[in-house]
Symmetry: C2
Subunit: 328 residues, 2 copies
């Protein structure tokens, strides 16, 4: 019996989940739910249905885990507590500051309806968070560092596109190699925002735009660019589509710490990701945690969980015996 | 109420555990158990007792978790199933091939006595195993690579010291950088033993020894050196003590995989450790899992567990709420 998955929201992340399900033999896609007219949405999986999100409750007994692929700003804060009433759910809620509130909302609804809701699944929050936790538990006396990139920041690309006379744009966040090396050396540097990352912008202008003025506007944009060394390249739309249409990302989580009676020994724990497709990797993490959600629900557990609360073995299709023999 | 820890076996690992306990405010060392005459063993923690291993059963109600610091070859296979009768226990059993058998023995004894036994804790097996599991669950279509070093191999150093006319010796296992880079490039290379690691030996000879003959004996030693490119340096005892008395180690776990409907996107997950002291780092992992063992036992759980079976939150002194607010 395969785990029957539903996808709610069919953008980049939803399509990534569809692809990831295909790579896991114990999973199958039951249906995709959309706010658009279902007949206008074409999916890749021939055996799966495309349905209106309005009909989602009809699928209550036909889906084991619903993967919510909406955005963190406006979709997930109300979708996750709502849909956990009908399904075990997974989301990738990534507004770090609002996680405690989101957890409480999902937990109450999940417990009231005897479902599992796993929130904030992906790589940050997600795999990066796990690595911070493990590394802190092992080396209580130390310092954490997270670097992001090289990769496309959707939020910063959007900020560029909102500028008048900008036709299209893509922004890369790039970790500063010398800062990374300083951390790896064990010197525990104090690093400013500017010292950790640079920002590189590829911008397509409308005809007749004032490039010099727009470059200044970008470099001085508060929160987004002013605190960073930012480079702006003006390119043609054709070049943007040819060379910058991917959605790569990645990053580094490091913890540098000491052990010994007199703290005489240094240690470095480093975790890094290099991803050709940010949404497809996030989707792959979501699908692994969907397996865990189904198992936890089958055990009779309920409530809201995060990656911190789930034993690693639940993520694997292999049995405990197989895991011990092959991976330990 | 602090978690009361016992240490059984006071070598490098036991001393490392003693140091790690000092770094965790919610833990205290109750007693060290030794096969030597207790009065001959001097420990660092003034408040803790030194006892004969023969009296260990007297401590049944005075220790929450016993950390077994013996060796995998002859100590742990009988110690862990024996002491789990009296205590919750943690070990660092690292004979990969015999883990299934060890698990079964510990599980039976642990369940019969309502205790928790966590086996094969450390970094390999341990943190490296966890990273293999997570990476495999996320990227089911991919390839695993593990590199060890640069670090001291105790087993290979011992093999050198068993050679006639070798007075003392230290062996470093070194990952081949070009092999690591090939893996990072995503080319999924097939790598032979010789292509992945080199071995570097620092050897002190007895007076009048035949250096050329010993060098050949080392380089042709089956299992240990014959399959590797091995370098041998003959040095003075003084130089060995000055420059090679540390026990550093580390390594890399990588998984290179693909996602997408047509497997068009590549991803690389990399975890690495750079450790000044192999035993102190292993000890730090043991102490974090001792915290988990105590909590699991307090919840009424019993049986044998590995790092795969334990939710990450159990390792941290912080509450779920604190973890979500600070690390997710």
């Amino acid at each position: 019996m395969k785990t029957r998955i539903g996808i709610l929201g069919y953008g980049n992340l939803g399509r990534g989940v569809e692809c990831a399900i295909r790579q896991n033999e114990d999973m199958e896609l039951a249906a995709v739910f959309t706010r658009r007219t279902p007949s206008s949405v074409s999916i890749l999986t021939k055996s799966a249905a495309v349905c209106s999100v309005d009909d989602v409750a009809d699928w209550k007994d036909k889906i084991d885990v619903m993967i919510l692929c909406g955005g963190s700003a406006t979709d997930l804060p109300h979708q996750t507590p709502e849909y956990v009433k009908y399904f075990n759910v997974i989301d990738s809620f990534d507004t770090h500051a609002r996680i405690p509130e989101h957890f409480a909302n999902v937990d109450a609804a999940a417990k009231a309806n005897a479902h599992i809701g796993i929130i904030s699944v992906g790589w940050d929050p997600g795999m990066f968070s796990l690595n911070r936790l493990y590394a802190n538990a092992i080396l209580p006396d130390g310092k954490d560092y997270t670097f992001w990139g090289k990769g496309v920041s959707q939020g910063h690309s959007d900020a560029l596109r909102r500028i008048e006379d900008v036709k299209n744009a893509k922004q890369y966040t790039i970790p500063v190699n010398s800062a990374l090396e300083a951390v790896r050396s064990g010197s525990n540097p104090e690093l400013t925002t500017r010292e950790k990352h640079t920002r590189e912008c590829f911008v397509v202008l409308e005809e007749g735009a004032d490039a010099a003025k727009i470059e200044q506007e970008i470099k001085n944009m508060p929160n987004y660019f002013a605190d960073y060394d930012t480079t702006v390249h003006f390119i043609s739309e054709e070049e943007l589509l040819t060379n910058h249409s991917g959605i790569p990302h990645g990053g580094f989580v490091l913890r540098s710490g000491v052990t010994g009676w007199n703290k005489e020994n240094k240690h470095l724990i480093e975790y890094s990701l290099k991803l050709d497709s940010n949404p497809e990797f996030t989707a792959s993490v979501l699908v692994a945690y969907a397996r865990a959600a189904h198992r936890l629900a089958q055990e009779g557990q309920s409530g809201c969980k995060t990656v911190f609360d789930i034993a690693p073995a639940y993520l694997s299709a292999k049995s405990g015996e197989e895991l011990r023999a092959s991976m330990l």
